[in-house]
Amino acid sequence: MSEHEHHSLWKPYGQVLVALLVLTVVTVVAANFHFGTPWSDLVALFIALSKAALVVAFFMHVKGSTRLIKFAVWTGVIGIAIFFALTLSDYATRVITYVDAPRM
């Protein structure tokens, strides 16, 4: 295998690592902005999802894998989304919202 081929194998992984490190800086910087509730959390969630997508697609080689593997990946992702959505449909929509209890 030639030097060029070795180089081309390494390069995309290095680029993904750099992107992940940059996004780590971005999430820390974004945390210092006061976007308010729930926007700060949604921004942090979006950045974390982007980082996770990069790891899954490139480090875990799901990009370019078979449809069967992608189906198994989405099973987990959709499962947790349903879990969160149904939980929030209760706790985030209660009329009586809890305030922090007084010191006991």
Binding site: L9, L17, T24, A44, L45, A48, A52, A72, V73
Partner: protein, 224 residues
């Protein structure tokens, strides 16, 4: 069939081809990881519910964590994911030294991460922030014992994450001598690549833990 397999080292007799063997291995691994997502989602949903119920206590509790340590550990864990990729790349090319170096790098960064975690846990113990009878709160007086819930979740989630890393590092210690003896070939290195999937998954869990445990106190204003 028997003849074909005699010329195919590393191909189990119940598979037609290397491709089929690989697909089976990775499908099984991804189903295991889907189960792992469900396992961690219980912890994350618990966090979500109590965060919604006690938003202020969570922001106050988060400020007791040092986000700089969390950020440094995030970088360490991302580097360990990269060295894991190196090990898998080495396995694909049948370069056993590259597998060994990749695994050693992953063990090194994993070890640094856990060492930092031990230091962090020790500091929380000294400040009486470990939930239980020893817990004492001397911070913001506007929050009561519900801040203890934040620390229960902090220790539960990071502890379960750290346990996954300890298990992963144990498996890597078993893999090292096997890799050195050349067990894995370009045709069959499914164990290395499957283990890589596990390690990257553990990295992804931390990608979500870092902002939602360490950073929420920075952005949430001091007001209620």
């Amino acid at each position: 069939m028997a003849d074909a397999h005699a010329h195919a080292p590393g191909l189990a007799h119940h598979f037609e081809s290397y491709e089929q063997q690989k697909e089976s291995a990775f499908l099984g691994m991804w189903i295991f990881l889907a189960q792992e997502i469900m396992f961690f989602s219980g912890l994350f949903t618990c966090y979500l519910v109590y965060r919604v119920l006690y938003p202020h206590a969570f922001l106050v509790g988060s400020r007791e964590l040092d986000w700089r340590i969390g950020a440094a550990n995030t970088v360490v864990l991302l580097l360990s994911s990269f060295t894991m990729v190196v090990a898998v790349l080495g396995a694909k090319q049948g370069r056993r030294k590259m597998i060994v170096l990749g695994l050693l790098g992953t063990l090194l960064f994993g070890g640094i991460f856990l060492g930092v975690k031990v230091f962090e846990y020790g500091s929380k113990w000294e400040h009486h922030l470990v939930p239980g009878p020893y817990f004492e709160w001397h911070g913001d007086p506007s929050v009561g014992r519900e801040v203890e819930l934040f620390f229960s979740l902090y220790f539960g989630m990071t502890g379960m994450h750290a346990l996954h890393m300890v298990i992963g590092m144990g498996i890597m210690l078993v893999m090292l001598p096997l890799a050195w003896r050349g067990k894995w070939t370009p045709q069959n290195h499914n164990f290395v690549e499957g283990f890589g999937l596990y390690w990257h998954f553990v990295d992804i869990v931390w990608i979500f833990l870092f902002p939602f445990l360490y950073l929420i106190g920075l952005s949430g204003g001091s007001s209620h």
